[in-house]
Each structure stands twice: as structure tokens, then as C-alpha cells.
Amino acid sequence: MSATATANAASANVIPFAESAAKAHRDTRPLRLITCGSVDDGKSTLIGRLLWDTKAVKEDQAATLARDSGSQNDLGLPDFALLLDGLQAEREQGITIDVAYRYFSTDRRSFIVADTPGHEQYTRNMATGASTADLAVLLADARAGLLEQTRRHATIAALMGIRQFVLAVNKIDLVNYDKAIFEKIAHDFREFALSLGVRQITAIPMSALKGENVVYPATASMPWYEGPTLIDALELATVRSAQAGGFRLPVQRVSRPGESFRGYQGTVAGGSIKPGDSVAILPSGTVANVKQIVTFDLVRNAAVAGDAITLVLDRQVDVSRGDMIVSIDGPPMTGLDFDAQLVALQPGGIEPGKRYWLKSGSRRQRVTVEPIWQLELATGAWQPHASTLQMNAIGKVRLSFEETAIFDAYEQNRSTGAFILIDPDTLNTVAGGMITAKRGETGGIHREGQRVLLSLPADLAEQIMASELFASRRDETEIRRMTAKQAAEIFSNAASDI
């Protein structure tokens, strides 16, 4: 799909879009995205439109749809919801129950969409879809504006580490393509997303039903809009990788095909490696050098995050599944106590003091969980909460291990900072979690050397400084008074480093 396509939307479904794909050269990994919105926002229609206009739906599938629904909408298109809700129960009840994955591509890149149900009782499904996503598409109905649900979805997406948002202001045709309405919703959303720490935000006015600004631009009906279509925005989005940090290789298995060969197999979860590099094996701390990086095709001279490799070391060391091979400079955190955020996924919730299995990378170990806070989704505020975290709840917890655990903070590494909890009785997956920090001896989330710079209105700062907690640690703080303009400058200089 080229950004200059000018096909008119009404004839979109007959454009032989796939023809250009024959020359396709994909210069990037697939973009994984999640779509959030309720049925009323037109989410199914939007995804259906994406699949239809990129020719991902074939004629026989459309014919099956037409046969099943027995009806078409006003534009002669099949009922897209039926295309998306694949399970018999979903069709019968007319609802989306579970995460479904969809695939489509343009000649620039391919896309994996996690299509998740919108209702609040499906927070867990949304978290599941969001766990692997690089970008979230949030839907808003132009007539209704930002709803609590949109804020809730954005909050969960940000929490799961998504740093790129597209706001799809849908059904813009039903408000007469009113620019002011679009701009108001876009402004409100931008403010909210910024408060969640998300800075890459694209707002797009569209009609998914008519195919306007989805794959094809709508210059006729919205001459005032000069931004990208949805597909343009998706093509330009970045795929996150963990190549910047230290080297991480969670060992999946040890390969010993013969006496002469011993290789450690796993997928690089961060950083890069080359023969000759010094590494440490955790948790033992043993040090060795990399001798070879073996793959099926050739002996490689480097490997980066995402590569599935076999690593050969220069000496006999004790390495087994669940260990992590890491760079000596910038190793991960090791310890018995960590702080984390998690989403409770099952009816039994997450109980304080219960011994769960925790799996992270290839490492599985026993852990107990102590809930501290729970996120109030309606307001985005954290409330004290020490009892069971019920299904769909998002909490801040303390993890206590019996044996050494190895983690990075989730914001540093989405792979080595993530974990699941497994119930020892049912063996079901009961929580998905993200490490925030290693807990120090003092019990606070106090990572050594880390500072937070706040810019506050003077009166609010006075109140905080008047508090007992602040007074008790006054000697650790540094305070400067300045004008709002000076503060803004400091933050704009610092922003790129955060």
C-alpha cells in the first residue's frame, strides 16, 4: 500500500491491491498491534475493513460469511463481525469472548493484530493481547467522545509497555465530518496518553464502515485532515527490540549431540553477542568467554536480540535450563525479593501468601505474592489493597522467592522483565506480571542511584514537603525554586533521556 493511493473508498473492495505484493520486499519484522474498543465503537468493522481492503479476506471466506449471515450491510459488504468471531459460542451470543489473531500485509510490512474483547470483565484478555503488542489502536465513537472505557484500555496498554498509540476517531461521518469534534477528542486523548507516559500518539478521523482513512485516504469528505491514514500510521510505526541493553540468553536446553560438542540453546532476550565476549552464567556467577555462535546455516560472527541461537563457551562450566547467560557489563538484577505489577487472570484471583510457580524466560521457580496496591481502573489511581486480587484486577505486589531470581525491570527489557504465575493445584496460568524493581534491604523501591525529578506547582510542593514521610527523608532530597518556563526547559532537555 502506498501512501499516495487515491482510490475512492466506495470502490475500495475491487482494487486489486495484492498485485503490487508480488514485488514485496519486507524490510522489517511484523508489527504486532492490539485493537481496543467495544462493539459499539465499530471495532469489528474496522478490523474487517482492514482485512478486506488489504485483500486478506478471500472470496470463498466472504461467500461463507454471506451464507452464514444471510445479509449484507448497506455498502454490500459482508458482516465483518462474523468473520472475526470464529467460535460457535461467539456467533451464537454475538460477542467476542477470546483474543483472536489476524494477519494482513501491505507491500511495506506485515501485521499481526490481536483482536481483543472490549468489556471490563475481559481486562485479562486485553492484557494478554497487549503483552506482545508494539502499538495499540484505541477506538472512540466520534459522537460519544472519550469514554471511561477508552481511558481504561489506554491505561492497561501503557501498563503492559505499549509506547505507541493510534486513536481512531470512528464514525466521523455521523458528525458531518466536523473538524472541531475530531480535534476536541484528539486533544483530550493526547493529554490523557501523555499522563500515562506515552508520547507517540496519532489521532485519525475515520469511517471504518465507508473505508475512509483506513486504507484509503478521504480527501473529498475530510479535506481539512492532512495526517496519515490508519495503514500509513501502522506502516510507519516502530517495532520494539531489546538490542540496546546488556546481553541476555535464557538457556532453554543444553545440546550434547556428541562428546565433543556442548551448546546452550536459547533465544537472545537482550543485547548482542559475538565470539570472544566475556559472559557470566547466572545465578552461579561463573565467568566464561564465547567461543562460537552456532546456527543451522553457518557459524555466525554475531547474534542480536530475537535470534534463536546455540552458544558454545570456551571452557567446561555448569550450565542448565533456567540459567541465564549475560554480559559481564550490565548484568540483570538477582535476588530473592522483587516488586512487580500483575494482572489477575483467573476466577480464584491471586491470594496473598500462597506459593505459586513463577515462569520467566526458561526459568521456573516458587514464589509467594504479597499484594500492596490495586489500580482503580475508572480513575487510574492506585488504592491500598493487601487482600486477594480478584480476576481482572491489576495490582502492585511484592514477590518473595526461595531461590535466586533473575530479572530486568520490564521497562528496560520486556522479555526478561515479564513473568507468568501458575497455580500449583490447577496448573493453569493465573497471572501475568511485570517486574518494576528489586526490593532493597530497606523495603522501599529504592534502586541505587536512581532519582526522580518532579516539577510541581509551589503550593502542592509545600504540602508534600509538610508531610511526615518527606520530613523523615529530607536530607536525601534536593529542591530548587524556579519559574514554570525554566522548569519546562529542563524537562524538554531531559525528555529524550527518560
Binding site: 511484523p30 459460542a89 543451522f296 496460568t429 501475568g432
Partner: protein, 317 residues
Amino acid sequence: MPLSVQETEIKNPPVSRPPLDPHLKALENEAIHIFREVAAEFEKPVMLYSIGKDSSVLLHLARKAFHPGRVPFPLLHVDTTWKFREMIEFRDEIAEKYDLDLVVHTNQRGKAENITPFTHGSAFYTDVMKTEALRQALDAGGYDAAFGGARRDEEASRAKERIYSFRTPDHKWDPRNQRPELWNIYNGMIKKGESVRAFPLSNWTEVDIWRYIQAEDIPLVPLYYAAERPYVERDGMMILAEDPRLELLPGEKVQRGMIRFRTLGCFPLTGAIRSNATTLEEVIAELEIATVSERQGRAIDRDQSGSMEKKKREGYF
């Protein structure tokens, strides 16, 4: 196994093959990760091998995942006895060439009762000779994990399938109660008798499969390429007419034409397409302008509404 044997497997010098594009590389990495994880966490895995293009890719990825070691689990082929002749020949060649443990299972009850796609209808036949046969073979082998080549883009109910798809002791799939699957952290904990089906190709599309076959030079059953072949037209499908068990119905006659297959299953249930694509490049070019899905030629998907989900719940892949 001595290392030198494995090393001779690399027929083409590495330099002759350009590196995979990042898209295929990412899919390959993900699949290898899944293979290794299952092999490490389960006691007795097996790989379902159906001889088709997806199975061929799956096998290639398994060999890559465990290189320089051997593929550490057997391949299981459920032979309905109604496969294309060329599929069986290809299967035996590959097993020998790559030094694989191949297990072939046929439902002897179904065979004794002479259950055929012609006499019993596609739904009943598939249930006995494929689904029931698969359950028999998995029970007999005591396998606790079975790799399959299913892709989420194939069919609506498969779009909801997990990468580790949990099965009860009697092989049932409960689509409403699947285990959540976050990040690439897979829960491999099961109780005795339970099992998982693992799908390393979940995120691949049909085009990805073909591009990968091209990039990696993976051998395929020749039926995927167009040739002049005999066929009969039946129920809107072109059925290959080379097996003596295919009896012509009144009004039918054997015709000849350039045809090929987009998927391979049991020959009486698998329709050919007209095509002049005799090379991989031509197959891909044809695919990229195709307007119907690959399973369109499969009779078993169409025999009833929600067909695939029903079969899957009962233990079909």
C-alpha cells in the same frame, strides 16, 4: 551420534543463500523457540507430520532448532490409506534422508470395516480415519506434547488457538477455557494424561510458508507444482484420477489438464486447481493474486457449519 554426520547435512555452502528477510527471520526465530521449549519441558513429544508444505516447513524448522543434534522426537504420520501416492513416496524418502524416527499409524478398526470417503461421507470418514486414528496413535505412544503445523490464518476457529493448546486426557479442546498466553512465556505444566498440541507456525500466513520454502530451498511433494495430470470433476472439485480405487460415477469421465494442489490431504477429498505454475516462483506469483483461500479445495471444511471447530474439539488437529 558423531558430529561429522550432521555437518555433512549442509549441502549448499552458506554464502550461496542470501540471509532471510527480517520478517521471515522473526517467524523462524519464534518457531525455533517454541520447538526448544516444548522439547525441554515435556517428557515425550512427537511431531505430527502430514507430508504437506506446512509439515515440510515444520520439519525444516525442527532440524534447525536442534542442530547440530538430531531431531529429538519421532514424526507421526496418520495414514488414512487414501493419501496421494506421491505423498507416501516423498515421506519415506525424507525420513531416510534426514535420519528421522517415523511412526506411521492407520486406524485398523476403520480399515477392517472398510470405511472410505466414498462410502461413508467425508465427515464420518474424517472422524474415524483421521481424528480417531490420531487419538489412538497419541495414546499408544504416550505422547504428552504433539507439534502440529496449523496456522491461525487458515480458519476462523484456529485464529483463537493458543501456541500451546491444552487437551484433556481424552484429547478434547475447550475453546472457551483456554489458558491465557502472555509474551512468549509458555505454560508447559500439565497433569498426568493431559497433553498439549504445540503450534510453532501459528503466526505464519500461507504466503510466508511459500516465501520461506523458496528462501530455504525446502523440498516438496511434486503435486504442489502444475503438471498435466488425469482428473475427474465431482461436486465442483477436480479429483486426481490415478488411484484404481476411484470409481467413476455415471456421466463422469477422466480428463487431462494442467493442474496442481494448494493443499494436500486425502486424494478423494482434495480438489486441484487449474494452473500453469510449474516452478516455485510461479506458484508464489499465482498465490499473490489469488482471490480464494487455500482451504477452499478441502471438502471437510465445508461439510457443516462451524466444521473445523467441532472437529478440533473432538481431537482433530
